[in-house]
């Protein structure tokens, strides 16, 4: 299937299925899901609870192994009946940035170090990592809080730092799990505008799971999932 790799498609899933359990206890979380995501796109993953949104996000994030199908990320086939890379954490470090509902910043690191840690893990020197972290915090207009610890930040500030961390290693794919759930409508709008800016400027693909109707209009495409099936793709 490696012939199917299209360099201009950042995330490509073909007939991906995932089920949990066997026999009567079998639950099909994803059924033959196929999607293509292009650079610069901001995609919304919508659906009721239990529809398979988080499972899909976990599969794209190489956290959960599909039961069948084919997955390519940033031009590299990563799953074809089995994982093709032995070190999935390294794959995540290189290709994927994560943004969480509750931002998940490391509480004992200040804002700069929370961003720099990704670069440290990628092998950057401490000085270079900090310089890049400060640059990102400035880009996200939260550099005045760079010495603050997560507990000292407001929800909006914390989410900006989390976005900075997700961008630190210049990933082309950014996965966001309810990125605006903890924010009011104004701040949610600001965060989504920021993500759109990042996607446009860095030619990254952003996939966000959300229930937040206020931000539906900020997506380029919306994939709607129901009972593990991709029902509609809305522009």
């Amino acid at each position: 299937m490696s012939d199917d790799v299209q360099p201009d498609v950042l995330v490509k899933l073909k007939n991906v299925s995932k089920h949990f359990g066997e026999g009567d206890a079998r639950v099909d979380a994803l059924r033959d899901v196929s999607i293509d995501v292009y650079p610069g796109q901001v995609i919304g993953l919508l659906g009721p609870s239990g529809s398979g949104k988080s499972t899909l996000l976990n599969v794209i994030g190489c956290i959960l192994e599909p039961s069948s199908g084919w997955v390519s990320l940033d031009g590299e086939v990563v799953y074809d009946g089995h994982w093709l890379r032995p070190d999935l954490r390294k794959l995540r470090l290189e290709k994927i940035g994560f943004i969480f509902q509750s931002h998940n910043l490391i509480p004992f690191l200040d804002c700069t170090d929370n961003v720099a840690i990704v670069l440290n893990l990628a092998g950057f020197s401490s000085m270079k990592a900090k310089a890049r972290a400060i640059e990102l915090l400035e880009y996200l207009e939260v550099d005045q809080r760079r010495h603050a610890f997560p507990a000292q930040l407001s929800g909006g500030e914390a989410q900006r730092v989390a976005i900075a961390r997700a961008l630190a290693n210049r990933p082309r794919i950014i996965l966001a799990d309810e990125p605006t759930a903890a924010l009011d409508s104004v701040r949610a709008g600001i965060v989504m505008d920021l993500l759109r800016k990042v996607a446009a400027e860095q030619q990254a693909a952003i996939l966000a799971v959300t229930h937040d109707e206020k931000i539906y209009d900020r997506f380029d495409h919306i994939f709607y999932l129901r009972d593990g099936r991709l029902e509609t793709q809305k522009n």
Binding site: L57, I63, R89, R92, E94, F108, V118, N120, L121, A122
Partner: protein, 379 residues
């Protein structure tokens, strides 16, 4: 980026309190080792002071410390004449309790012949005994100052010199008096008992008092102490043993049970410490489950996560050990018995603590490695 350091720095107060608690526990372990060493050192001190090669005691006895021994006072002259013996001295040992400043004072009294083998090895203050009677050299632990008067038996003695670190196997401070005084103190009957014996026609003669507990002898380097001891044992009324045999008797008979008890207790404390360290590290890891999941999700390798846990465990063990060691070093003199802290014991315990920390952190590491990165996404 050293995550362990950042975490400790961020939660410094809590971490130091945990270290302090662990330090108290390790301080108890260290003090138990010190008490164990002190017990052994105390037991050997009194037998090592004469720096003898041979101990001559009553036949069939393993005296004078493990069993009672009484031999004629002239044995010393006979021993001194043996080939290879350079010095010999008669000694008596007894425990007694007297009153000093309205308080009970337990003492271990050594009687020796001034100028011969058996006296104190070093007088740290004052002078040696120069008169035949009623002078005493006391250990500092008695708290008796020079010039102080002390009543022993029916006589009053004057403290003329002080020694340091001289205690019996029971931990009682040692005092030295002349052999004549000690024989009187140990063997002379009380007046009422003496009168009764006279009435029975068994008046105590001065020759009856001339009895000692042991004779110690020093040999020329060319003489093998074991062979010399065998030669002395050919005299049927005497038993002889080398210094090494005497020390073995002390360790295997006199303080054996106490030694085992303290040794066992020390091992138990170490096991308890291991369990406590393991629980602390496990709890610390539990507190960081979400952070560990996030680290895994953003691509941190296992070695980063293991490093976070193990380095914190080692830091906790090291700081806790330092707390404990500092505590015990500063309070060791307040213990009623000697606490002998040796550098090699401290280093060995530090090594054991480090090992225990690594082993104890295995539980936390196991938990951390099992954390699913998806936990960070909130299910």
């Amino acid at each position: 980026m050293n995550l362990a350091y950042y975490d400790i720095r961020h939660n410094m107060g809590r971490f130091l309190l945990t270290c302090l608690g662990l330090g108290l526990l390790l301080g108890v372990v260290l003090s138990m080792i010190g008490i164990y060493r002190g017990l052994v050192a105390d037991a050997l001190t009194i037998s090592r002071t004469p720096a003898a090669d041979i101990w001559v005691v009553e036949s069939g006895s393993r005296g004078p410390f493990a069993e009672s021994s009484r031999i004629p006072g002239d044995t010393r002259e006979a021993i001194a004449r043996i080939h290879g013996v350079t010095e010999a001295g008669s000694i008596t040992y007894q425990s007694l309790e007297t009153t000093y400043k309205a308080k009970k004072l337990r003492l271990y009294v050594v009687g020796y012949e001034p100028g011969r083998l058996g006296g104190p090895d070093k007088i740290v203050k004052g002078r040696a005994i120069t008169r035949s009677h009623y002078e005493v050299i006391a250990d500092r632990r008695t708290n008796l100052p020079i010039g102080e008067q002390l009543v022993l038996g029916r006589n009053t003695f004057t403290v003329v010199g002080l020694t340091d670190g001289q205690v019996s196997s029971g931990g009682d401070p040692v005092i030295y008096i002349t052999l004549l005084d000690s024989q009187e103190l140990q063997f002379e009957l009380a007046p009422s008992a003496a009168r009764r014996e006279i009435a029975r026609g068994n008046a105590q003669k001065s020759a009856d008092l001339d009895t000692v507990n042991a004779v110690v002898a020093r040999l020329t380097p060319q003489i093998n102490p074991t062979i010399a001891a065998k030669a002395i044992q050919s005299w049927k009324h005497l038993a002889a043993m080398t210094q090494q045999e005497q020390e073995n008797i002390l360790l295997r008979s006199v303080v054996e049970r106490a030694r085992k008890q303290i040794g066992l207790f020390t091992v138990l404390l170490l096991i308890v410490s291991t369990v406590i360290i393991a629980l602390i590290i496990y709890t610390m890891t539990m507190d960081k489950i979400r952070e560990i999941a996030t680290l895994k999700l953003i691509g941190a390798p296992d070695r980063t996560i293991i490093g976070l846990i193990v380095q914190q465990a080692l830091a906790m063990g090291m700081i806790g050990f330092c707390f404990g060691a500092l505590l015990i070093i500063n309070i060791q003199d307040f213990f009623p018995r000697r606490v002998l802290l040796q550098a090699e014991d401290g280093l060995a315990l530090a090594g054991v603590v480090m090992l225990v920390c690594v082993l104890a952190s295995a539980l936390g590491v196991r938990l951390a490695l099992k954390v699913d990165p998806a936990t960070a996404l909130g299910g």
